[in-house]
């Protein structure tokens, strides 16, 4: 009997080369970190069940799920708005999977597993906004896109989910969920856009 290995492999496994990229000799203006192996569940209200879903979701997560383009941090998950009457549950460590969520949410909601359908990239540092301005048509000025703001939007003609996490060292952190099969392509576009600022690249198992 053959020995099967079921090692998960990120779509960026090959393209992501940890370390410095682009302009050298300056402090890197962009930090890119891929977060690997997470659970991502799409929760969609059944017809006429949005209020009920809101109720059970609040019971499940302890906070109200977003009903507008926001990302809400709970103790062990991030709830990210993804459209009217629907949101993502992003978590790690098997805390919120199809199985665990089904028990509480499957009455008023349909669930769809997207854990493998996306790649998660965290973008930060001083030039993050300048770089994102090359990819995103939305306004990321601090007044227009505050901590906790989220957007279902497009980059390079590809659908993405973008939200602003808590600041790190006083600088904004942007999180980006990208479709897995587009990830390598968009990654190269990000690197091209970021290169002039100097880039520090890494990956992580933690958020």
């Amino acid at each position: 009997m053959a020995e099967f290995s079921w090692a998960p492999r990120s779509s960026l496994e090959k393209a992501l080369v940890a370390g410095a990229h682009g302009t050298r000799g300056i402090e890197a203006g962009i930090s890119l970190t891929e977060i690997r192996n997470f659970d991502l569940i799409q929760v969609m209200a059944r017809r006429g069940q949005a209020a009920e879903l809101a109720k059970v979701a609040k019971a499940r997560f302890g906070v109200a799920a977003p009903n507008a383009p926001k990302a809400i941090q709970t103790s062990d998950a991030t709830l990210i708005w993804s459209g009217p009457d629907q949101f993502f549950v992003l978590s790690k460590g098997g805390k919120h999977t199809m199985q665990t969520l089904a028990t509480s949410l499957s009455g008023p909601a349909s669930l769809s597993d997207q854990s493998h359908a996306r790649v998660l990239i965290s973008i930060s540092d001083a030039k993050a906004r300048a770089m994102l301005a090359k990819l995103s048509s939305i306004d990321l000025h601090p007044d227009a896109f505050a901590v906790g703001a989220a957007a279902a939007t497009s980059m390079d003609h590809t659908s993405v989910t973008l939200w602003r996490g808590g600041d790190r060292d006083g600088l904004a952190v942007f999180n980006l969920l990208v479709f897995a099969t587009f990830a390598e392509s968009l990654w190269h576009m990000i690197l091209d856009s970021a290169a002039e600022y100097g880039v520090d690249i890494g990956h992580s198992k933690e958020f």
């Binding site: 507008a68 383009p69 993804s82 459209g83 009217p84 048509s137 939305i138 957007a151 279902a152 939007t153 497009s154 003609h157 659908s159």
Partner: protein
């Protein structure tokens, strides 16, 4: 062009896909060929303010009903298109 998605806020044209006139309503089951022909093929093609379907496929994937002036491209209202093309049963 910028369209104010009622859910996402103002977004760039590239996030949306155009379908066409939102005035025709899909005839109910059992409608005649003439009625369906009219629905599928004939258009007012208004020069001025008209309502039309746009899909926010690059965003929240909602179908929208946009009121827009075809002479100036100015948009006066955007709302979800939910049910806009549904057959008017019993009407």
């Amino acid at each position: 062009m910028r369209i104010v998605c009622p859910f996402c806020g103002e977004r760039e044209l590239g996030e949306f896909t155009y379908l066409g006139d939102a005035k025709p309503v899909r005839p109910e089951a059992g409608a005649s060929e003439d009625e369906v022909f009219d629905y599928v093929y004939l258009r007012d093609n208004v020069a001025g303010e008209t309502s039309e379907y746009w899909y926010h496929g690059g965003g929240c994937r909602t179908w929208l009903k946009v009121t827009r002036n075809t002479l100036t491209h100015e948009i006066s209202s955007v709302e979800p298109a939910a049910g806009a093309g549904a057959a008017k049963v019993g009407a």
